[in-house]
């Protein structure tokens, strides 16, 4: 089984970021970058499948400039077999990413990727990709099992969970509770340096269909107050008309 794991380089999800004062973009200053946490869960899941079935091969893929190599190396260190960087310096949106991935996903049995990136919070690319490939999809997976080319996926829903059964090839997106990505030990990091990482030109001339024209800070919430006792809290809530 051939698995493709698209990964995205994102600003450290635990860092505080704010827009630049002129609204032209993000003030990333000294903020670090990492693999989008949901994509990391996807790579982890693929590596676990490979550990159970050595015939599984894993390709990590990303799109962007040379800086993305750092994140692809991390995926290799986790256990991916090879990496592919689709070289791009042009503006992107989810539709472009999906168009590019649709080209490179042909021949794979499974695309496993994060349900959303923690920078854009869009959650679009995987479903768009599944549509373009005309493959079935299971988003927000909390458990995945694949037997004889059939995926059984438990996925989180608005009201609980459900189980879907879908034939491969398919696109599956990962939710938080699918697994906990491993700690990468030094031997993995060293091994990753010698694993193949290929750079390929873009396959399409698709242009973005949307773009961010401004970024602003959300309006601050008015300062609140501390109350000393439950009675004072109840009085305050009554005053505000919410009790």
């Amino acid at each position: 089984m051939k698995i493709l794991c698209p990964i995205k380089r994102v600003v450290d999800p635990y860092a505080k970021v704010r827009p630049l004062s002129d609204g032209s973009g993000l003030d990333i200053g000294a903020v670090k970058f990492d693999v989008n946490p949901f994509d990391e869960i996807a790579v982890e899941e693929a590596v676990r499948m490979k550990e159970k079935d050595p015939t599984v091969t894993i390709t990590a893929v990303s799109i962007g400039g040379p800086e993305v190599e750092e994140q692809l190396r991390k995926a290799l260190a986790m256990g991916a077999d090879e990496a592919m960087l689709i070289e791009n310096a042009l503006p992107l949106d989810s539709s472009v990413v999906a168009a590019e991935l649709a080209h490179f996903a042909k021949g794979y049995d499974l695309v496993l990727m994060g349900k959303q990136s923690t920078d854009d919070d869009n959650g679009q690319a995987a479903q768009m990709l599944a549509a373009k490939l005309n493959w079935p999809q299971a988003t927000f997976a909390s458990s995945v099992s694949i037997v004889d080319g059939i995926a059984t996926v438990t996925r989180e829903t608005d009201t609980g969970e459900e189980t879907l059964v879908l034939p491969l090839p398919a696109v599956i997106t990962t939710d938080l509770r699918l697994n906990e990505p491993r700690y990468i030990a030094l031997p993995g990091i060293i091994k990753a340096r010698t694993k193949p990482l290929s750079k390929v030109p873009r396959a399409t001339d698709a242009g973005p269909k949307s773009r961010v024209v401004r970024m602003d800070s959300p309006p601050p919430r008015p300062a609140g107050r501390k109350v000393a006792r439950v009675d004072e809290l109840i009085a305050g809530l009554k005053e505000r008309g919410v009790l």
Partner: protein, 275 residues
């Protein structure tokens, strides 16, 4: 000529869709799924057949609509805007990103545009369905489904009052007794942090935050919640936020309208008794 298609995944969506139509200034044709919404491939295929000639296709944000509408956008080669909170014009929308740290103005440069929007950011305007959508064949089969209405508690995303708890609640029974007890007294819904869900104290559909439910009640009571950026991203639009926490330096006190530094195991039951 702009034309708006409104997609209702549940009857409760109708009023929010009416509000969105008003905000964008288009009349809108409303279609609703007949019966249970099928898996995304079939749902998106069915919607694609209805979408011909529409420039804007909108639905209320939910996990289900994200699953289906993004696939529809792929099928239609559409531009997409997720989680809109404001319509600037039919080609410009405001949406939060980076866990709500940024409000981005997104310009669409292509039609059609598929939009999901947060209902709390738009007025409620009653609208009737114009058409029911029949479901087609599906490659994917749904073999089980759990959840749905749990007891008499309102849905988190619609609730006027929410009581949420974090990991200090210890176990599921304590969580239900303390948090559920106050929620029931207030006629509200129960929410939880990611930490509480991950440690098995609360069910996953109760998770509130960047990657869980986005809520906007009149009253949000957070008990034993420190207030991570990810959690705050899901509750920012609440009218009044109450924080009950033993740690006076917990970040949630910076956001809370009312902060009570107290042990939740005494303060919450006292609140339950007195409200």
């Amino acid at each position: 000529m702009p034309r708006l298609l409104l997609v209702a995944f549940a009857p409760a969506d109708n009023a929010a869709l009416g509000g969105f139509a008003e905000a964008i200034g288009l009349e809108g044709t409303l279609i609703a799924f007949e019966g249970e919404v099928p898996p995304a491939d079939a749902a998106a295929d069915a919607l694609k057949k209805e979408a011909d000639g529409f420039t804007h296709i909108a639905a209320v944000s939910s996990m289900q609509s994200k699953d289906v509408m993004a696939r529809l956008a792929g099928l239609l080669d559409a531009a997409m805007v997720t989680d809109a909170i404001k319509v600037v014009s039919p080609t410009q929308f405001v949406r939060p990103m980076v866990a709500g740290s940024v409000l981005a103005t997104v310009e669409t440069m292509h039609e059609p545009v598929v939009i999901t929007f947060r209902p709390a950011s738009f007025p409620k305007v009653e609208k009737n369905g114009d058409k029911a959508l029949k479901v087609l064949e599906t490659t994917t089969s749904r073999t089980s489904k759990s959840g749905g209405a749990k007891g008499s508690r309102p849905d988190l995303t619609q609730a006027k009052r929410i009581v949420s708890g974090g990991r200090p609640l210890k176990d599921a029974a304590t969580f239900e007794k303390i948090i559920g007890g106050l929620a029931d007294k207030l006629g509200g819904a129960v929410g939880a942090t990611r930490a509480a869900v991950d440690s098995g104290i609360a069910a996953n559909e109760l998770q509130v935050g960047q990657t869980g439910k986005i809520v906007a009640p009149d009253l949000y009571i957070a008990a034993g919640i420190s207030g991570s950026t990810q959690h705050m991203a899901g509750i920012k639009d609440s009218k009044v936020i109450v924080a009950i926490n033993t740690d006076p330096d917990a970040p949630i006190f910076e956001f809370a309208d009312f902060g009570l530094v107290a042990d939740l195991f005494t303060a919450v039951p006292e609140l339950t008794e007195k409200v």
